[in-house]
Amino acid sequence: MTEKELEILRIIEEDARIDFNTLAKMTNISEEEIEAILKKLEKKKVILNYSAVIDWSKVPQAEQVTAMIDVKVTPKRGVGFDEVAERIYRFSEVQALYLMSGAYDLQVVIEGKTMQEIARFVSEKLSSIDSVISTTTHFQLKKYKHDGIIFEEGEEDRRIVVTP
């Protein structure tokens, strides 16, 4: 990866909506080249998506519950954890799935409308997978910071307006 590509990635990770003209001035790279770099990085699946970070707790009709589930599984000969991981991440309720070191094997992040919905997913779908040995479900109570963004911070500019 080139320095230019890295710099562009770092900027759009913070603000994916930035326009090419501004980005060009900030990086001293031409708009055409920026477009080409983004195309290339999208094609190589370095950039997977451009999404918004939303605080759904502020949207009354979109109440939802997030749970992190620690899952212990028996890895299968030849495919290790990948096969069972795939069986799990294909469920649309699953927002994220990680293979972990430590006391358990997989961490599943799941979103649902209600606790019941998540309970149903765990008991009916997750636990019933053959290689799953056990599950421990933790419900998120409050989101303070997500993807590097602090949710409740209204940090205003406290500087005095003109200083030497």
Binding site: E7, I18, T22, I160, V161, V162, T163, P164
Partner: protein, 393 residues
């Protein structure tokens, strides 16, 4: 019996009366009286001090480190400072005898002047420059002599310009690169001819390198790193700009032992020591803050790119500042003076900038615009400035 006429004798010293009130003050008053302004007038980072530094300072207080420190500063901090300065800028100082932790870089300028100046000694000050140099030289009994730099020279100063200002009374030279307000930088080869001149005329050189970490195109080169210059340099820096620690009031000065001992004498009588809790924050800054410095530097660099380019689109000449976080465009094309421009811009478009003339010789015809503010603010400010400037071009 001697008679003192109490009616005519002023309560104030003539020295303080001779010092002009700060030009920035008037603009501050104007700008603070208005709402909804976008300020490009701020001479400090828009970042809050990184959390690990704040946390270290809080922890030092929790553990009860609330007493005076050594006059020169916490020894461990002085050791970290010398290590940092050696690794980053290739200057080698002894933490025991050649470093003093000050209350901001400003104190270092003050006690440096008071340590070396006798009444009438002249100090050549390269301008446009930081607003404190000239008053602090005067307060120390010295005579400030301005040498102005120009946009055509990228606001660098040449040895010839300095030579032309040297008299028998010249004792010292004051330089600061990267520069506030111009953003100018001087490379090793630029500094070399000045070093030769300092040698020739036996000058002490104040090198205020507070913006050293904010150098975007070339690595900063310290004046004290030039062959033979350490002996005659008062090297000033601090934590305010690089680590976003302006309110902590923590700087440092490095100088040969005789000069440092003299400054320490002043420092111990007037300040005793820099605030201890701030020193523990600074210690953490040096131990683990370099990634944050790099992150902030990159962010300024990107904003610089955006901002400086915008002046070209407005039709204002602006050199590419190599460091600090200021653009210093020429507004001569508008036919307005710096103060007129700044005042009208404030009233008509609610954008605060600082008129260049307050930074001394060479500043008239320019405005200082800080890009230490959010991209969102910069985009809106340039839009408004564009609209404003187009009325005069």
């Amino acid at each position: 019996m001697s008679q003192v006429n109490v009616k005519t004798k002023s309560r104030l010293s003539s020295r303080i009366q001779d010092i002009k009130p700060s030009g920035i003050r008037r603009f501050f008053d104007l700008a603070s009286s208005m709402d909804n302004i976008i300020s490009l007038g701020v001479g400090e980072p828009d970042f809050t001090t990184p959390w690990n530094i704040r946390e270290a300072s809080i922890s030092s207080m929790e553990r009860g480190f609330t007493a005076y420190s050594a006059n020169a500063g916490v020894l461990e901090l002085r050791q970290e400072i010398t290590k940092y300065m050696y690794q980053r800028f290739d200057v080698d100082y002894d933490p025991e005898t050649e470093v003093l932790v000050t209350v901001g870089a400003s104190e270092a300028i003050d006690i440096g002047c008071r340590a070396i100046l006798d009444p009438g000694d002249e100090v050549i000050i390269v301008e446009p420059g930081f607003v404190s140099y000239s008053p602090l030289v005067s307060m120390a009994g010295g005579v400030p002599v301005s040498v102005g730099t120009k946009i055509e020279d990228d606001f660098k100063v040449s040895a010839e310009q300095i030579r032309a200002a040297i008299t028998e009374k010249t004792k010292a030279l004051m330089i600061s690169f990267p520069n506030n307000p111009t953003g100018a930088v001087m490379l090793k080869e630029d500094l070399q001819e000045i070093a030769a001149l300092a040698e020739e005329h036996d000058l002490i050189v104040f090198s205020d390198e507070i913006y050293a970490e904010l150098s975007y195109d070339n690595k900063h080169f310290s004046f004290a790193a030039l062959e033979g210059m350490k002996e005659r340099t008062i090297l000033i820096s601090g934590f305010s700009k690089a680590f976003a620690m302006t309110g902590w009031r923590l700087g440092f000065v490095m100088a040969p032992p005789d000069l440092l001992a003299a400054m320490l004498k002043l420092h111990q009588y007037s300040l005793m020591c820099a605030p201890t809790m701030a020193q523990y924050g600074a210690l953490e800054a040096l131990k683990s803050g370099m990634d944050d410095v790099e992150r902030m530097m990159q962010s300024y660099k990107q904003r610089r790119g955006f901002f400086v380019e915008s002046f070209a689109e407005m039709g204002l000449a602006c050199h590419m500042p190599g460091g600090a976080f200021y653009a210093f465009p020429s507004i001569k094309a508008t036919g307005l003076t710096s103060e007129e421009f700044a005042e009208k811009l404030l009233y008509e478009e609610r954008v605060a900038v600082v008129p260049g003339n307050i930074f001394g010789v060479g500043g008239e015809g320019h405005i200082r615009c800080s890009y230490a503010t959010s991209m969102e603010n910069l985009q809106e400010a340039t839009k408004r400035m564009n609209r404003f400037v187009s009325k005069y071009l």
